[in-house]
Every structure is written in structure tokens, then in C-alpha cells.
Amino acid sequence: MPTLALITTTAVAATAGELTLENGLRVILREDHRAPLVALTLAVDAGAADDPPGQAGTAHLLEHMLFEGSAAVPGQGFDLALAAVGGDSNAWTHYDLMSFSQVLPPGALERALFLEADRLGRPSLEPDAVARQRAVVQAEGAREHDTPHGRDAAVLAALLYPGHPYARTLLGLWGAERDPALTILDAGALRTFWEGLLTPERCALTIVGDFDTVQAVAWAHATVGAIPARPPAPRSAALAPALAGAQRRVLWADAGDRTLYLAWRGVPRGDPDEPALALLAWLLAGREETGLRHRLTSRGRARRVEAWSDAWRLGGGFVVSVSAWRGRLAPLRRAVDREIARLAEEGPTEAELQQARGAWRGTWLRADESVERVTPLLAQCALTHAEADCLDAELARYEAVSADDVRRVAQGLLEAPGRVLLSVVAPGARPLRGSTAVEME
């Protein structure tokens, strides 16, 4: 039997340990007895980027179906079994990750582990339920479509990664009506995906909260540990060819304002430059007084300025967005470029770095102090990094970013061979000059 490794002990009587079960599934445990609850997350190293060609939406629909019955818990039994003790559950799917979470009273942990094992190991995937969940996903997509700027992220990914799995939509929907991928997904397609990608060795299970580690390990062995190992299907490792030139595109959508996205390819997760890019985003628009945001919003030239850096398994994205009620987008583009050029030349001051580090520490602490918030983060850590409890190590990576690192990644953006300039404006308004339309229908 695999042994439990104790990895940290903190000041608030929380202990953390990890073990890998015989079937390859990793279990991370952290006791915290300050509140009468246990949170549990099963993270799967698979996602929408693994959808087979022509079957976009498979991973996401499968995520829905894992709430729709399993061998020992048919129908809506999963949620009802949790609700009987007041517990709740949720799940989400991204390009490279699927995450299933439960929160429950301490007296229900064995039940929660059984439920997780049964749906991960023996999902029913009944055709009638698949049809119903396709309709639910249609409603989910329509809600996204109805939300101002609700489609922007999918369009940006498609433009940054043309022809790549990241260009597929997470839901298998593209536009309000057209859904060629979603409608052809059936129970067979879902089962094939499940068989090849939701294997125990691709999974990490995190348990955090008010429980006893020894007891929890025994239950984990008896439940998720009983899922037979099976060979995982190979995954695409294709890197997208470099973007060439500035792609000027326009999405005609009346979102109430006019928005310009400046987007570059980012770095994959775990890349040494990941923290420096995140810090660059913070320096651009992290708070009201930071450079670009202050310059544009305090004078009323923009109503909102945001910047962020995403890091996925095979790549990432660095995005700055500027929204204004009126006026031309070209001056906003020039302002963003000038600020990035300034940071590439001068870099941040030591005081700015200290502020950013303090802000990161606060963010980390707020997550770490909540059982419900830290549980999925630990599960993602386990899949992304060698160590199970990587939060401290991750914070150290961010705190080690130097002014030179920020200068270098800003310079990298200036020298990037290509980028996307996406205008999102109402029909009739002026996008950036030379923009061609994104076809949504």
C-alpha cells in the first residue's frame, strides 16, 4: 500500500500529506478544523483541447454528464445524496483541465468519496440524459451569447491559435444558432473520451477541511483507489505555428461600449516567464493608480482598462483590453503600446515591485485561508507541478520576479512576430482601420 507523505505543518493546525494510489490517482490531504466542513476537488488533466476534431464540446458535455447517474447512483442521485446532508457540488471545464468540486459536512466524507469514485469509474452516460444535457448546454451557450462581451474570450482564443485545439469552443457552440459539433455528440463519443482521458492516473483528488487524515486515506483506497487503472490515450502536444503580423479583426456586437483587445501569444504554465508576465499585467492595470489604467481612466479617455496573462498546457495568452463609451480606438492602441514600450525600456521601480509582491501575497493568503477556495488550487498544483502543495513555491516564484524580468517580457511583446488587435464594436461604429470581420454565424 502506498504510504502517506507529510509535506507541511502550518501555524493553524493544518497538516498536508499526499499519496499516489495503486491505480495512479494522486490524493492530497490538508486538515483544517476551524470550520465544520470538508471540500473535495477531483481535477482531471484533460479538457476541451482534447476534444476530437469535429467534436468540440465533448469534454464539457461529459462534465455535465458526470452529474447524471452512475452504476450505484442512478439519475440525479449524485446531487440528491449530497443534498441529503446539505452538501453541494459544481464543476467546470477549460482547455486542459476539468475540475469537479464538492463541499459537505464532515460526516459525509466517505459518501462523497464513494460518489466521486462511482461517477469517475462507472458513469452511466444514458442517451436520454445526453439529449437533455445537450439542451442545457445550448441554454448555457445562449446565456453567454446574451451577455455583453460574453463571446470575446472564445474569439480571442480562436484568433490567437488558428487551427489549434485552443481555437475550438469549450461548449461546442459558435454563434447563437450554429452548433454543428454539439448536436452530433452522443453517448458513444462521450464514452470514448471518458475511457481514454478520464483515467485515474490523470486525476488528482484534494481533500481539505475538518476530517481525520488516516480515516480519509482508508476511504480513498476503498473508493477512488478501487477504480481500475487503464492506459490513457495519447494527447496532442502540437504547438501552434507562430502568428505573423498584426491581425486586425472586428467582432460586430452591441455591448454598450467599444472595446479593443491587444493580444499576444503567452507562455505555457510552468514556464519561467509566467510570473513576470502576470506581474507585467498587474503593472499595466492591476489597480486604479497603476500606469496605463490611471492614464486612461482618470482623464475619461477609457471607462475600463484590464490586463491579464493566461498560461495553459501548450501555450498562453497575454491580453490588454481597453473600453470606452465613445471615440476612436486607435489612440487607445497607441497608449497601450507606449506604456509597454516604457516598461520595456525603464522597467518597474523597486517600489512598484514591492507593491505588486504585497498584492500577490494578499491574494494568495485570501485563497489559502478558505477551505473552499484552496481545494481546487491544490488539485491544479498537483497536476501542474511535481509537488502537491505548490502554493508557497508558486508565491516564491512570483516574489522572485525582478525589474529585469519584467523589462525582458515587455520587450518580448514588442518584438513578437504577431499579435491580434480585436475591436468589439456595435454595427456602424468604427473599429481599428483595416479590420476584417470575425464570422460568428
Binding site: 476551524r34 440525479q76 443534498a83 464513494f114 469509474g121 437533455r132 487503464r230 485570501r366
Partner: protein, 444 residues
């Protein structure tokens, strides 16, 4: 093939294990103190490196007027414009400002070792507000711009339509649309309003997980909290308000029921938990899981001094509106009929309280919600005791007291030409037809 795959997992043995719901929620120790200026302090003991500080200004009837809304904006501007954000960042602190059902709220989340430093930055700004005229003008300009475009924002139209349809004009929340242009208020009025609130208004302070001794000096300027002004109850139904949003592909459906004034909070919590308690809530299961009509159904209790309401919110494809309305009504009529419904609702409501013990901000927020209504520090404990002591049949009693069709106000947003006949078909002929501009309160 499928059978072979299913056989893969047969090693998992046995049936669903038994589980034990929570019997009680152990609230953390709380000490009540009075700060030097008279403000009430609730110090909640929670070990850990993170602190949550809440300041709640409750407003009496003299100050509870249109200026409240503007004062909140100004408080936000004050915090943004006058606070040393860079120094707060270095301390890892975050400050948020918001409005409650009866006043204003400021929240500081900070590592415990940064509490004193954060207060030394925050308290002088609050104690001696000196908002520069340009900042006031900026607030007015930004708000006017936002209001000018409110009718173009589907989310804002929905929010305003719901408030206008369900709350009487005298209600604080319903006054927001009436203030759409702030035309009658000068910058001097705004600064005076803000000073009246911050310098003369009293507050309740809630501290979770920090040293209460750190507060006495910096927050000595805060006076004793005023009893919050009662506000009128939600409007009775029946009404069906259709708000015209041309060519909207989905119908947004909001349904509101006033809460009876004599209903104990625990009973309303039980009803809300039965209807909307997560994925196993009755409405989600019926409309989403069984019918595939919606992505989700939100159920919310809103409370204010003197009243409250239960609000249901969902969206469905326009063509599905009659089916969704029928499923919704059928579910509301049978909320307590399902096997185990009351047991699940009790467990859900009780565990929802336990989840708020998860972190200092969640805990501070739960106490703040009570303080904002003028409740005392023991109110939450009493509510939990009431919940566990509710007799059998309480869910059915709550449902029959609240979910009365004649009390319902429906607000439906979408394309009028499409939805009007569908509402007729559903037995819900519109009683009011509003444009988006009417819903957000624009002047003709």
C-alpha cells in the same frame, strides 16, 4: 463494448455509505465592545493570519434619502482617490465599498500583521473626508455617463425593471432609478451628504481574526449606530411586466414574492434552500435536469428593515417560455410534496451557515448582513437555533405563506412580439408593457 467498459469499474464495492448531516453550527466566540466614540464593535475570534474588518453605517430616517446612494459613490471615490493604494498593496490589503439594505458598508481584508498599518491609512481618510472638487465632478460625470447608457445594458435594464416592478417608490433600492441623472444635486450637496454620513453617522464595526485593541484609536471618530430606518414592504402582485428588448434570443424571467412581515428568518431560509439549494434545489432539478429548459435557476432572499422578498431568476429560449413557466409554477406548487424535501432543505440551510465559517471574509459578511439590518450580535445564533427548532411541516407552511400566485410579480425581458403571445399561452398575460428606457427610469 459498453458492458465491457462498465465492467472495468466493478471493484468499487457496496452501496452509498451513510452520512451524517450537521446537528448544529458552532459559531465562533464573539466579544462585544464599545469604541471610544460610541461605535459598536463585534470582535469575532478566528485563529489565522487573515483579518476581515467591516464598518457598517446604518442610516436613520433623517439621513436615509436620495443622498445615500450618492454618498456611496462618493465614499468609493474617496477610497479610490484619497487612500494610499500603493501602501495598501504593499500590506496585501484590499478595501471594498458597497451599499447595504439600510446604509453603507466598507470592508478591509488584510493579513493580520498589516491591520494596524492599514487602519493608519484608512481611518484619517474616513474621519476627515476632504474630497477634491475634481473628484466629485468625476464621480458625477462617470455616473451620468453610465446612467445615460443604462437602457443599452441588458443587465442594468433587468436590474432596474425588477426594482421598479417589485418595490414601492419610497424604498431605498427603488430610488436608484429616480436618481438617474442626479440633476438636482450640486457637488456641494454631495460633499455635505458624505460628511454627514461619515462624520456624524454612527457605525457597527465587525472584526474577524484580528486584535480588537488595534481599533480603538483609529476608529474613535465613529459614533453609535442609528437604528436603521424601516422601509416599505415589497409590492403585492399579481403583476406581469413585459420589458421589450428587441430581438433578444432568450427570455429572462424574474419572479418575486413579498415575505410576510411576521415570518421568522429561519422559515424563509428553509423555503429558499428547498427551492434553490445548489444543484439539488427543486427548481434546478425540474427545469434544468429533467426538462433541459434552462442553464440554471437562481433563488435569492432579500431582506431590509421591515420587510423582504424571495426572488427567482432564470433565462430560457423564447420558444420555451410557456413550458418553463408551467414547470416553474408546478414546482412552486409542490415544493414540500417531494419525499425528503424538508429534510434536505433543513440540512442545506444549516450547512449554508456552516460554510460561512470557512474564511474571515465569509464570516465577517454573515455578521455584517445582520448588523446592516440593525440586529444585535446574537441575532445569527438565534436564527440558527430557530432553524433547528422549526417543527415538522414548516416548509409547507412557509410555501403556503409566501408562494401565493396572487402575490407574485413576474418580470419578463425579451422581444415583445415573440413573448407576448407566449405569455398569454402560459396564462400570464402581461399587465404592463415597458420599454427598456421606461425600465431604467429615463425621462421622456
Amino acid at each position: 463494448m459498453i458492458a465491457a467498459l462498465l465492467a472495468l469499474g466493478t471493484a468499487l464495492a457496496g452501496d452509498l455509505p451513510p452520512a451524517v448531516p450537521l446537528a448544529a453550527v458552532p459559531l465562533p466566540p464573539l466579544e462585544e465592545r464599545t469604541l471610544p466614540g460610541g461605535a459598536h464593535l463585534w470582535a469575532v475570534d478566528r485563529p489565522g493570519p487573515l483579518t476581515d474588518l467591516e464598518i457598517l453605517w446604518t442610516l436613520d430616517s433623517a439621513t436615509l434619502d436620495a443622498r445615500t446612494v450618492l454618498a456611496q459613490r462618493l465614499l468609493a471615490a474617496l477610497v479610490e482617490g484619497e487612500l494610499d493604494e500603493a501602501a495598501l498593496d504593499e500590506l496585501g490589503a484590499v478595501v471594498e465599498v458597497g451599499r447595504t439594505a439600510a446604509g453603507l458598508r466598507l470592508r478591509l481584508q488584510v493579513p493580520a500583521d498589516g491591520l494596524a498599518g492599514s487602519l493608519s491609512l484608512l481611518a484619517p481618510v474616513l474621519a476627515h473626508p476632504d474630497l477634491p472638487r475634481p473628484a466629485v465632478r468625476r464621480v458625477r460625470r462617470a455616473w451620468r455617463e453610465q446612467e445615460r447608457r443604462a437602457a443599452q445594458s441588458v443587465a442594468r435594464v433587468a436590474e432596474r425593471a425588477d426594482l421598479r416592478a417589485c418595490l414601492p417608490p419610497g424604498h431605498l433600492s427603488a430610488r436608484l432609478p429616480a436618481l438617474a441623472d442626479g440633476r438636482g444635486l450640486t457637488p456641494r450637496d454631495l460633499v455635505a451628504a458624505q460628511r454627514a454620513l461619515l462624520e456624524e453617522g454612527g457605525a457597527t464595526v465587525i472584526l474577524v481574526g484580528g486584535d480588537p485593541a488595534a481599533l480603538g484609536g483609529p476608529l474613535a471618530f465613529l459614533g453609535a449606530p442609528a437604528p436603521p430606518a424601516p422601509q416599505p414592504p415589497a409590492l403585492p402582485g399579481p403583476r406581469v411586466v413585459l420589458v421589450h428588448l428587441p430581438e433578444a434570443p432568450q427570455a429572462r424571467v424574474m419572479l418575486s414574492f413579498p415575505l410576510p412581515g411576521d415570518m421568522v428568518p429561519a422559515q424563509a431560509d428553509l423555503l429558499a434552500a428547498a427551492l434553490g439549494g445548489g444543484a439539488a434545489g427543486l427548481l434546478d432539478r425540474r427545469l434544468r435536469e429533467e426538462e433541459g429548459l434552462v442553464y440554471g435557476v437562481a433563488v435569492e432572499l432579500q431582506r431590509w428593515p421591515g420587510g423582504g422578498r424571495l426572488r427567482i431568476d432564470t433565462r430560457t429560449a423564447a420558444a420555451n417560455l410557456p413550458r418553463a413557466a408551467a414547470a416553474l409554477l408546478a414546482s412552486l406548487g409542490a415544493v414540500s410534496a417531494e419525499d425528503g424535501a424538508e429534510t434536505r432543505a433543513r440540512a442545506t440551510a444549516l450547512f449554508a451557515a456552516a460554510r460561512t465559517l470557512d474564511s474571515p471574509p465569509a464570516l465577517g459578511g454573515a455578521f455584517a448582513a445582520r448588523a446592516a439590518l440593525g440586529a444585535d450580535a446574537a441575532a445569527w445564533r438565534r436564527e440558527l437555533d430557530e432553524l433547528t427548532a422549526l417543527p415538522a411541516g414548516s416548509l409547507a407552511a412557509a410555501a403556503s405563506a409566501v408562494l401565493r400566485p396572487e402575490a407574485a410579480t413576474w418580470v419578463v425581458l425579451g422581444d415583445r412580439d415573440t413573448l407576448e403571445p407566449l405569455l398569454e399561452e402560459a396564462g400570464l398575460p402581461p399587465t404592463n408593457l415597458w420599454s427598456a428606457a421606461r425600465a431604467v427610469g429615463e425621462r421622456p
